[in-house]
Structure formats: C-alpha cells, structure tokens
C-alpha cells in the first residue's frame, strides 16, 4: 500500500472530497486553489482558480458536473468540473465555512461564519439550473441560528434536515424547509472539526478537539458509538464498504508542532472498528496534523490531507479486503 503523494498545494489542506464514482478527488487548501486529481494514479486533472482567499470547503454534485467551493474571501463559487470555468459566484459578508450539495443535487447548503458584527448564516441556494441555467443571487432560505458558532454541517437523508455541528461540541438538527432547530444534543466537550455522513445519511461521524470521534444517529441525534484517542481530532470518515471501519485523524495543534517530535505529534490515520469500538490499525506518513480524510465511495482507497500541504492517497492491499476481525 504505497501511498501516492499529491503535491499540488503550497499550504495546508482544508478539505478533500471524492466524487460519487471515486475516480476524481478534489482538494482545497489555504493557498486559494482548488485541485482536481485522478484518484487511481494521482495525476492532476486541473485547477480551479479564482478565489483570492484560503479555500475552506469543497463539494461536488453526484453527476460530477458542478463543483462548489467556499472561501475566506467571502465568496462561494460554482464551477464547471470539466473545464474549470467559474459559472457563478456568490458574495457574502463573511467567510464561507461549508458548502454541501443536497442528495438530489437541487440545493446547495452554504454556511458562513459570524464575524465583524455579521451573524452566522445557514443559507440554501437553488442550483437546479445545472451548468447552463441561471442561478439566483438570493437564497431560497436563510436563517441566523443563535447559539455557538457552527463549524461543520451536512445534509441529512432525503434533504429533510441539515445537521450542524457547533463550537461547543453540540450537534443540531435544522429543518431544511423552515430553518427551525428541531433538536440539539451536546455530544462532545470541545469544538467539532468534521462531520461526515454515512452512505444513506441515516447516521454520521463527528470528530472533535476533545480527542474523540462519535457515530450519531441522524434522526434522533443519539450517540451510537464513541472512539476515544489520545490526540485532538480533525477529521473522521466512515468506510462505506468491505469493512466496518471508520478512519479518524488529527494530531497535535498545528501551532505546537514545531515544539515536539513527529512521534509525539501523533500524525496518524487511525482505523477503528466501527461496531466494536476497537482500534485496528494506523497509517503514518504526514509530518503535520491531519486536517481532512476522505474515503473512496467504493471503499478501495482513502486519502488524507495534512497541515504539511500534502494529500496522501492510499490504495488498500488485497489482504485489507479479506481481513476478518477475530470475534
């Protein structure tokens, strides 16, 4: 399982995403560029240039035609995946922390952060127009959720709800039609750093600075499983196939890294058994904290992006698929 090193960014990675088929990998970083890669060999397909601030987030629709990105330059942009053209740019008052296409590709969720007196917003834009259509400047829905800052968010099953993770470690269920907070549950003790849905969006995994990752049921916000580690976590992903695993990663705060050895930094991707809550393995390689993890939708490879500016794509060996957890 020799990893492929994607060296296309000059600054730390913020998010990486596979498309639905898993042949493409999109990565964004603080260096203003969105990169697209062939996931099987690490060749770069191209870049999407236009942002003038750190890009925080990226998402691709299920047909791999539209790409959305959100940046600290207070814009969210919509790109044509095939030619890299920017087809729409929305301007906001503050930085965009999260973008996410809905399950049916009709809507785009955008989270902006509160800053300089502007409140945080959760906005939903209609992107039904696709590549050719006009995209409205006005959102279909906008809410100003109260309480602690929202750091991560994702669509729930059937586009009914939006799940948002907050700075205080709580997760909230927001009705996608009305914008009301339906329920809330404080599952972590520190800020949430990532939230990724399972394939059918009925449960999701959260990672937090409190050194734990948790599986949570979407409908009830009930904690299903907990994975407790010895380091602050930045990302967590659920393996969709082959093995009942989750992959979590993180490491010492970036600001403390220079003061400690790589060994102590714990910059490893950890594999945990999803159901038995037991660690099964670790993958080393990054020399900075791991900021983001994505798993191939087919479960054949996974990629991790680190503070060190690299994306490492790992293809699993055959014995990974035949591995059986001794029960």
């Amino acid at each position: 399982m020799r990893p492929i090193l994607l060296q296309g960014h000059e600054r730390s990675l913020t998010q990486i995403k596979y498309n639905r088929e898993g042949d493409l990998l999109f990565s964004v970083s603080k260096d203003h560029v969105v990169n697209a890669w062939f996931s099987h060999n690490g060749e770069r397909l191209g870049t999407y240039e236009g942002h003038i601030g750190a890009v925080w987030t990226v998402d691709v629709n299920s047909t791999s035609t539209l790409l959305a990105s959100g940046s600290a330059d207070n814009t969210a942009k919509l790109w044509d995946v095939s030619n890299g053209k920017c087809i729409k740019s929305w301007e906001f008052n503050t930085a965009v922390r999260r973008v996410a296409f809905s399950e049916d590709d009709k809507n785009l969720l955008i989270i902006t952060e509160p800053r300089m007196g502007f409140p945080a917003t959760v906005q939903i834009f209609n992107v039904e127009g696709g590549l050719e259509g006009e995209h409205s400047n006005e959102p279909e829905m906008i809410v100003h959720p109260e309480g602690p800052k929202i750091t991560v968010a994702a669509w729930g099953a059937l586009n009914k709800y939006i799940v948002a993770g907050r700075e205080n470690g709580s997760v909230a269920l927001i009705d996608a039609k009305t914008g009301d907070v339906v329920s809330s549950n404080t599952v972590h003790e520190a800020t949430l750093t990532d939230l990724q849905m399972s394939t059918d969006r009925t449960y999701f995994i959260t990672s937090s600075k409190d050194k734990t990752a948790k599986l949570i049921e979407t409908a009830t916000l009930r904690e299903l499983k907990s994975f407790s580690t010895d380091t602050p976590l930045n990302s967590a992903a659920i393996m969709p196939k082959h093995q009942e695993f989750v992959v979590i990663g993180g490491g010492q705060e970036a600001m403390d890294v220079t003061r400690t050895s790589a060994r102590q930094g714990k910059f490893e991707c950890r594999f945990w058994h999803k159901i038995l809550e037991e660690e099964v393995g670790r993958v080393r390689g990054h020399f900075g904290p791991i900021n983001t993890i994505a798993i191939h939708p087919d479960g054949r490879s996974f990629a991790s992006g680190g503070e060190d500016g690299y994306v490492r794509v790992h293809h699993f060996d055959d014995d990974f698929f035949t591995f059986k957890f001794q029960i």
Binding site: D230, T260, R263, Q264, D298
Partner: protein, 744 residues
C-alpha cells in the same frame, strides 16, 4: 425537671448531715489550674538560718537564666528539728512568671549538680500533685476483647501465584493483579487515595498513602485502613528493613496548637521534623530535628533516608557530614553508648546487609554484630580511607587507604558478602578522571581487598542479587560531564565481571571480566531480583529508549560452545547472551517484579507528558502488555516478604518443577479461554445490536422515501458499472535474446 435534692419531711438533723458534695464538687479548685508556673525543687541542702540567705542567693543565680521568678515566690519551708534548730526542709517552691518558664526550669535544671552530694531534682508542682494522687489500689485496665484482624499477607495466597502492583494515575490509585498479556485485574481502586504519591512497605504488607495530616497504611484483602500516623505536612517516609519501624519526615516543623490538642506529639517534640513510629502499635517512639544547614546561607537539604537502618533493625544511624555518625538503638531510641561516633570528614556510610545465615542466627537469639562501612576523603596529609566498623562494639574491622580520590560510592552486595567501593580518581592535573573498584570480600578472614582497574569513568554499578557477579557501565565519551544531563546521549559500554574461584586451593580468588559490550547508549542496570537476568536501559535520554535483556547463564543449545578448549575450563562469556532488545518510547522508570519473571517499564507524567503509560515485559524481553494512560504517574510492584522455605525445600521444588509448571500451564490455558469467551460474547452482542439497528433504520428510510416518492439513489448501479471499466495494468516480460559475454 430535676428531682429535688432533699424533701421537706426528711430534713437533715445537723449541719454535718447535709450533703455538700455537689457544692464542693462545683467549686473545687483544680490543682491542674493555677499552679502551672510552680516548680518543686528537691535535694536542696538543709541549712540553718545563718546560711539560708547565702543558699537562696546561690539558688537564685541558678534559676535566673531560666525565667523570671515572681517576687516573693522563692519559698524554702523551714521547721524546727530534733536539736531545736530552725532548719530548712531540703526542698523549696519557686513560682515563675509563666508556665513555659517552669517547663524550661524542669528541662534545664533537673539533675543539676550543686555539689557532690546534692543533685537538684526539679519537678513541676502539678506533676508532683498528679503522681501523689495515683490510686493506691491497682485497678486492672479493662480488657479489650480480641478482634481478629485481616490477614495482611493474603495476596501471597493467590492461586495463580500472581504479583500485585499499584498504579497511580490522575487522582486514581489502583492495586492491580498482573495478568501478563491481558488487562490487569483490579484488586482495589480508589480515587483520591493519596495526595502526593504511594509507597509499599519493604515486605509489601502495607501500602502507604500521603496526606496533609499524615500518612495512612492500608492492606489486607479488603484494603481497609490499618493504621494512620499524624504528622502534618509529611513528605517522605522510610521503613526499617522488616517494616517494624517507620521514619517520616515533614518539611513543616512540628507545632503544638495551644488548646485541645489530641495529637501524638508533646511540647518536647516542637520544632522537630523527623518522627519514628512503631508500625504495629502506631505509637510515636521519638522525634528528631533536621540537621541544621552546614553554612548559614545553604538551603536545608534532605538526603533521604536520613536514618539508615541496620539489617537487624537493632540500630539506626544518622550522618552529620564531616563530623560524626550517630548510632541509635531500637526500640529504646537511645543514642548508642550515649555518644556519637566522631569521624572527621566522614562523607557517607552504609550498613552491611544480612545473609540468610545471619538471619538464622538472629532468629535463634544469637545475632551477629552489625557492621557499617564509611569513607573519609583526604585531609591534613591523611589519605582517603574506607573503614568497616562493627556495631555495637565500635571496633574497626578493616581499613583501606586510598589516594587521589575525587569521590567514593559504597555498594554492598545484597547478602553482605562483598562491599565494592567505586573510587573516582583524579590525576594531579585535575583533568583526567578514572575509576576503579575496591572489592572487600567481607566473609573471608582478614577481609582481603581486591582492586579492579577500570580505565573509563563508571556511570553505573550493580551487584547481582545473591550472586558473585556485577555489572558496570562505563563511558569515555568526551561529552560526559560537560553537557547538561539528558541533552546528549552518551556512548557507553557495559561490562560484566565474575568471581573466579581459581582451581587449586592456593590460587587466589579474583574478579575477572566476563565480557565488555561496547558501543551502547545504556546508562542504568537492572538486575533481576533472582539474579542471572539483567536489563540494561537508556533512561532520561530524549532520543533513545532502548531496553536490552541479557541472560548470564544462557545454556547454548549446541553443546560445542560449552566445550571451549581452554583447558576444560568453561568460558563464562559463552553464557552471556542478549535475549532481546525492546524500546519503550519515553520510558522513565523500570522495575522488576519480585519474582524476577516480569519487568514493568513506565513513562510517568512527573517527568514528561509524552505517551504516558506502562508496558509489561517478560524476562525474555517479550512485550506482553502495553497500556497508555493519560496522566499516568506511578507503577510499583508489591514487594514480597522473604521466602519461608529452606534451601533444601527450594532445591526440591527446582527438581520437581515440571509438576508445578504443568499445573500453572493448565491454569493459564483456562483463564485465557475464559476471558476470550466473555469477550467474544460481548462482541457478538455488539454486532447483533448493530445489524438489528441497521435493519430497522434502513426499513424506515425506504418507507419514508417511498412515501415522498423520491427515487432510490443510483449508487448500486453506479458501482456495478464501475467494475466493468476497471483499469488493469499488466506487465509482460519477454526474453528476446540472451547472450553470455565474459568481461575481462
């Protein structure tokens, strides 16, 4: 309402009949009160009126220094004797301004020799009153019914012969059973059990916990508190070798609060910092002050233990650096021969440990004398000197003069057979240092001394427990001594020595090198408590955490190695074998378990915060168990008491070891399968729960999806089609032509 004291129909007839006892009781003056500042002086010369004034003047002078005497309260009663003379009665009363002055008078003047026949006896008036009021008839104290106490050594009766350890992490102290490869079983656990750290007594009977008010000892199967010792601010404790006495040290001098004090200390103990206790009864035996700092500006330092116990527990001694060794007797706590042993310049001393034979003798009531070794540096044209002294006779048994000595360290072999003095020498130019070892063979006649020259600086020295071998770690690294410790890892080499008995009767015994292992980085030696196995480790380094396991009696499987052709004599180095090398990242402490089968390495948060936790190894160097614990602080094995088996019994067990090992092997098998079956069941349950939950959720989702008429996501088909266009790279190698050429 209280019943009336008398009734009108039955009035007492006369005054005598009236019961005044209640009134008397109420208004009686307590002798304890009001006379605190009065002392009684006995053995005062009996004089007539003519001499009285002179005597009083003389006595006043004596008492003047003690405190202020109230005017007119220097009373000497007089009476007319048979001869008709008015003579003093030979005692007097003195009233001081304060009670403290009275106490002081007792302390200082009691026993004062006025002249040959008159030794003043000073007592507090209240004391005299108290002791004369002792009841004449002896009343036997109430017999307290015997309460059976828990068996304090119950852990030794463990069926599986496991050892215990105490682990302290965060606020939690747990006593654990060593389960080898599995998670240790908790024997007892408690949060906030101690405030600073924990300590076992030397035979493992008690667990010592530290608190602001004092220390507490715990033990038995239920882990109840057995006894506690009140000593505010206690920081350090030390047990005597057979845990009969306990020495505690506090950085706060003892203070007696003004009123309502129920503690163990009395006014005489005020200001002292060291207390000696009887462990079984909990009684305070004596307190001692800390040594005053040598120079007025020096910070007071404590080298613990302050009191070193002799192996027999009959004596304990304290060193006043450069001046004297004070040997005290236990349990009387008195200074041996009422004076300290003056040794000019003495730097350090160590008691000789006891061998098993000595212990037998002591048990039969004929204990051998204890022995201590001390050394003095060069001074006033006197060479440095190591001296062996027998206690209590204080006879000097052996001395050895040494030259150019920079420092000495005394190392007794744990049975007291050998004393090795590690001597660091300094050449005249004070630059080059070298070490050598002076080995005293204490059991032999006249105690011969042998010198083992070592060219390099010795970093560590350790005797094999109960053995005749020792290991040293030496270095010639130029960084030694220059760099701050911990910053660089020194290059070191490890050497092992053994006692060559010689062949004939006449040949001299001598210590010979087994082997030197160069190019190491280790700096500490850990012998297994049973000897034979030794672990060399690199501690307190920031880059290397090596742990090396050696066996000194390794039997090579191929018999050839044993038949080294050096005159039939076996080569000891053939038996030295590196068994395994391990690494424990960030290791700070290493300890063998008392059976010598397991080794615990731990990384304590007290030294750094990296990967705190502990690891268990077997003596072969195999890692058995590893646990990382946040805020892990301490792991100590519970010591075992000395074996009760005789030598023959041990030999017998060695012979029939197979029988025993079979039993234990079986038990091992049983326990591991038991544990895993429980674990298996738990896992099965988890998996079952998960699949049930998934089924339920998936059904819900499907029905909901159908209700709103949303199409099922096209994931399944997509992945199926994915399989088709999978790229396969195939490399085919074909040999076109093959030709062989000879290159000149």
């Amino acid at each position: 309402m209280a019943p009336p004291r008398f009734d009108l129909n039955n009035l007492p007839e006369s005054e005598e009949d009236i019961d005044f006892s209640d009134i008397e009781e109420r208004y009686q003056l307590s002798f304890e009160e009001g006379f605190d500042n009065v002392v009684v002086v006995d053995n005062v010369p009996e004089v007539n009126e003519a001499k009285e004034e002179k005597l009083i003047g003389f006595l006043r002078k004596i008492f003047k220094n003690v405190g202020e005497i109230r005017p007119g309260h220097f009373v000497m009663p007089k009476a007319v004797n048979e001869k008709g003379e008015l003579m003093s009665k030979g005692y007097m009363f003195i009233e001081f301004e304060t009670a403290e002055q009275a106490v002081n008078a007792v302390k200082l003047i009691d026993g004062y020799k006025m002249d040959r026949s008159h030794t003043l006896a000073v007592n507090r008036f209240t004391d005299v009153e108290k002791y004369t009021n002792v009841e004449e008839d002896f009343v036997a104290p109430e017999e307290i019914p015997f309460e059976e106490k828990e068996h304090l050594k119950s852990w030794l009766a463990d069926e599986m012969g496991r050892d215990q350890m105490v682990v302290y992490r965060g606020n939690e102290v747990s006593v654990l059973w060593n389960m080898q490869k599995e998670q240790s079983h908790v024997a007892h656990s408690k949060t906030h059990w101690t405030e600073t750290y924990v300590q076992w007594s030397p035979l493992g009977t008690y667990l010592t916990t530290f608190h602001q008010q004092g220390i507490a000892l715990w033990g038995g199967e239920s882990w109840n508190k057995i006894i506690r010792f009140v000593h505010p601010g206690v920081k350090l404790v030390d047990y005597s070798p057979s845990e009969r006495y306990l020495v505690s040290w506090s950085n706060e001098p003892i203070v007696i609060p003004e009123d309502n004090y129920h503690g163990p200390f009395s006014t005489e103990d005020e200001g002292n910092q060291i207390a000696i206790w009887d462990v079984k009864s909990g009684a305070l035996l004596r307190t001692f002050p800390s040594l005053a700092p040598t120079s007025p500006n020096a910070r007071p330092t404590v080298s613990w233990p302050v009191f070193k116990w002799s192996a027999s527990e009959r004596y304990f001694a304290r060193l006043t650096p450069g001046v004297q060794i004070s040997v005290y007797e236990a349990p009387s706590m008195g200074l041996l021969n009422k004076k300290s042993i003056k040794v000019d310049g003495v730097v350090d001393f160590e008691w000789a440990p006891m061998s098993d034979a000595d212990r037998e003798l002591a048990k039969s009531g004929k204990p051998k004398d204890d022995m201590l070794a001390y050394w003095t540096p060069e001074a006033n044209n006197q060479p440095a000197r190591v001296t062996l002294m027998s206690i209590p006779t204080q006879q000097i048994v052996r001395t050895k003069n040494l030259f150019n000595v920079a420092d000495c360290k005394l190392h007794w072999q744990n049975r007291g057979d050998f004393l090795c003095v590690k001597v660091d020498r300094q050449a005249k130019n004070k630059k080059v240092t070298s070490s050598n070892l002076e080995v005293f063979r204490v059991r032999e006649k006249d105690i011969p001394v042998e010198v083992v020259e070592i060219k390099e600086t010795i970093l560590a020295f350790a005797w094999e427990p109960k053995g005749e071998r020792f290991a040293i770690i030496t270095t010639s690294d130029p960084n030694f001594g220059s760099a701050a410790p911990g910053t660089t890892t020194l290059k070191t080499s490890a050497s092992f020595y053994y006692l060559d008995k010689g062949k004939g009767k006449d040949t001299l015994q001598s210590f010979k090198l087994i082997k030197t292992l160069p190019g190491k980085s280790c700096n500490t030696i850990f012998w297994s408590p049973k000897g034979r196995n030794v672990v060399l480790a690199t501690l307190r380094s920031q880059t290397v955490w090596d742990i090396e396991f050696y066996d000194l009696d390794f039997e090579p499987l191929d018999s050839q190695a044993t038949k080294v052709p050096t005159g039939g004599e076996k080569d000891p180095s053939a038996y030295l074998r590196l068994l395994a090398t391990g690494e424990h990242y960030g290791v700070t402490d290493i300890e063998w378990d008392p059976s010598g089968r397991f080794l615990a390495t731990s990384a304590s948060v007290w030294r750094h915060t990296m990967e705190n936790g502990f690891q268990l190894w077997d003596f072969k160097g195999q890692l058995l168990y590893k646990e990382n614990l946040d805020k892990f602080k301490q792991l100590i094995w519970r010591p075992r008491p000395r074996t009760l088996l005789s030598k023959d019994q041990i030999k017998n067990i060695r012979k029939t070891l197979k029988q025993y090992s079979e039993r234990f092997d079986e038990m091992d098998m049983m326990s591991s399968s038991q544990v895993s079956s429980a674990e298996r069941q738990r896992r099965r349950k988890l998996l079952e729960d998960w699949t049930n939950w998934r089924k339920h959720v998936e059904a819900d989702l499907a029905s909901e999806r159908a209700a709103i008429g949303a199409p099922a996501p096209a994931l399944a088909q997509a992945t199926a089609s994915d399989e088709d266009n999978e790229e396969v790279d195939e490399w085919v190698e074909e040999v076109i032509d093959e030709k062989e050429e000879i290159v000149a």
